[in-house]
């Protein structure tokens, strides 16, 4: 949309400038007089100002009715490689503008892409009430039209809280696999060869290849892990599901977790990779809650609790047995 350029500022521009200045705490009496003088110059100035002022007030009122929805339209702040959001906030990370249900006067919007950096996190809020939380290194494409709601999870992990709409099923697609909402909250994760979906609430339908031939209905607690080799089903307890979703509050939760797995998890969030070469170290089990943002705390815990050595080797961090323990080990 282009606004015609005029050499002199027209009444509308001046009115908006005054409104903008008036919001500042630096607005003084002399500014007020300047405004009133301009208003008094002509009826055109006066009515223009009233119109802009009333419109601005309407915009503010509309935004205040649903602030999260509008906050979601902001582009990603520059220079933020890693952002951790509280669940209550809805900030959006977007390559372009957000996507909304097609207004009757607008053509259907193109698919929109959203992605997070390594260590990044974002929550997307959509006009139908659906929320999508993106974890580290995640990339999605969203298509919301008046007929359908589709999200392609190209890589990474996301938690979907879907506003139920019988007329428009919500489907998450990863490769050929898809999970279709029947009124739900569910978690989907895809790595190169591995697809994982866990249902938290409601019901959803899983399809291995996008057709109706290999379909499973998921109820709360159901988890599917599928690779090209096999598909397995498991039933997770609420506690286990909560652990899997701890990333939404910036935590990683481990229970009897082999160190190798814990390290793999952390590596999803950090550019500098943690490396274990010693198989006996990799097999050590750990438990506890760790902050994703504080990998240093995690490494200190490894040193203190498990008596491990942590050192920078090249551009990775090597976790190994501390020397004295190594010696003990050899003697045995």
């Amino acid at each position: 949309m282009t606004i015609p350029e005029t050499a002199d500022k027209d009444a509308e521009t001046r009115a908006i400038e005054f409104l903008h200045r008036r919001r500042s705490p630096r607005w003084k009496k002399s500014d007020q007089f300047e405004l009133e003088a301009w208003l008094a110059e002509s009826t055109l100035n006066h009515v223009t100002f009233l119109r802009c002022e009333a419109f601005e007030a309407d915009v503010e009122r509309t935004i205040e009715a649903e602030p999260k929805r509008f906050a979601a339209l902001l582009p990603e702040p520059r220079g933020y490689a890693r952002v951790l959001m509280a669940l209550a906030a809805s900030l959006m990370l977007a390559a372009g503008a957000g996507v909304w249900i097609a207004h009757v006067l607008l053509a259907p919007p193109p698919d929109r892409s959203y992605s997070t950096d390594v260590g990044g996190h974002a929550t997307l809020a959509f006009s139908d009430g659906t929320q999508i939380a993106l974890n580290t290194d995640t990339s999605v494409r969203v298509r919301l039209t008046s007929n359908e709601r589709k999200v392609w999870l190209d890589k990474g992990e996301a938690y979907f809280q879907v506003a139920h709409d019988a007329a428009r099923p919500f489907t998450v697609i990863a490769g050929r696999r898809r999970v279709t909402d029947l009124g739900t909250a569910f978690l989907v994760r895809t790595d190169r060869d591995r697809f994982e979906a866990a249902l938290v609430q409601g019901r959803a339908e899983y399809s291995a290849d996008g057709t109706k031939s290999q379909v499973a209905t998921l109820t709360p607690g159901d988890e599917i892990v599928a690779t090209s080799a096999r598909t397995s089903f498991a039933k997770k307890t609420d506690a286990e599901l909560a652990d899997q979703m701890a990333w939404r509050t910036g935590l990683l939760k481990f229970r009897h977790t082999p160190l190798a797995d814990a390290v793999n998890e952390y590596n999803r969030y950090c550019r500098t990779k943690l490396v274990i070469r010693d198989p006996s170290v990799a097999r050590l089990e750990i438990g506890g809650n760790f902050k994703i943002a504080s990998v240093d705390e995690f490494l200190v815990a490894m040193q203190v609790v498990l008596h491990l050595r942590v050192e920078q080797v090249g551009d990775a961090i090597l976790i190994s047995r501390a020397p004295s323990h190594q010696n003990k080990h050899h003697r045995q």
Partner: protein, 198 residues
């Protein structure tokens, strides 16, 4: 400062203090009763004037005439008064044309019945308003949209917005003006335009 004050009073009208007070009353009436009719006014102008690029000027002129007339006496039936003022303005403009086909007064009656029920409700924020504002924001250039949202959603001060966007305060002001103007253009149009109202 004293000079400016005096200038204000002079233009306000003949009555000095009285005129200033009534200007406030007219302003309140204008905001409360005239501005909500804008979609109606725009439809009327659009249907009765061939040259679409004149519409903004026409609209402004209707407002100015309406406001000035109200300074004398606030009209009883605002809708009728506004549309009559619009009609008279259009007639003034085509005084010399042979064929004048502008909706006459008789048409207003039917017009009012049809549109009364769907009058805009300024009190409640309809879900529809939220969606329309979203859609309109979507269509803004990115910087203008950012300036609008940072101002009204995040409620940031001008300095903070300038820092966030990496530009000067006056540039932010420019983006905001661009954004608000565009939103006004998009949102103050009657969404039902284009539908057959017969």
């Amino acid at each position: 400062m004293a000079q400016i004050l005096e200038m204000g009073r002079k233009r306000g009208g003949r009555g000095g203090e009285d005129r200033v007070a009534s200007t406030d009353a007219v302003s309140r009436w204008f905001v409360r009763e005239v501005l909500p009719l804008e979609p109606l006014l725009k439809s009327y102008l659009r249907r009765n004037w061939k040259n679409q690029s004149d519409l903004n000027d026409l609209r402004q002129e209707v407002y100015v005439r309406t406001f000035d007339a109200a300074r004398q006496r606030i009209p009883e039936n605002t809708k009728r008064f506004l549309l009559m003022t619009a009609r008279n303005l259009l007639i003034d403009r085509v005084r010399h044309e042979q064929v004048v086909s502008i909706e006459t007064f008789a048409d207003f009656e039917a017009f009012e019945v049809a549109t009364d029920a769907a009058g805009p409700d300024r009190v409640a924020v309809a879900r529809d308003e939220v969606r329309r504002l979203q859609a309109a924001l979507e269509r803004l250039p990115a910087r203008a949209r950012q300036a609008v949202i940072l101002t009204y959603v995040e409620d940031l001060r001008a300095g903070e917005i300038a820092k966030r966007m990496g530009v000067s305060r006056s540039t932010v002001s420019g983006y905001l003006a661009q954004g608000l103007k565009a939103l006004m253009g998009m949102l103050l149009d009657d969404p039902r335009d284009g539908e057959d109202r017969s």
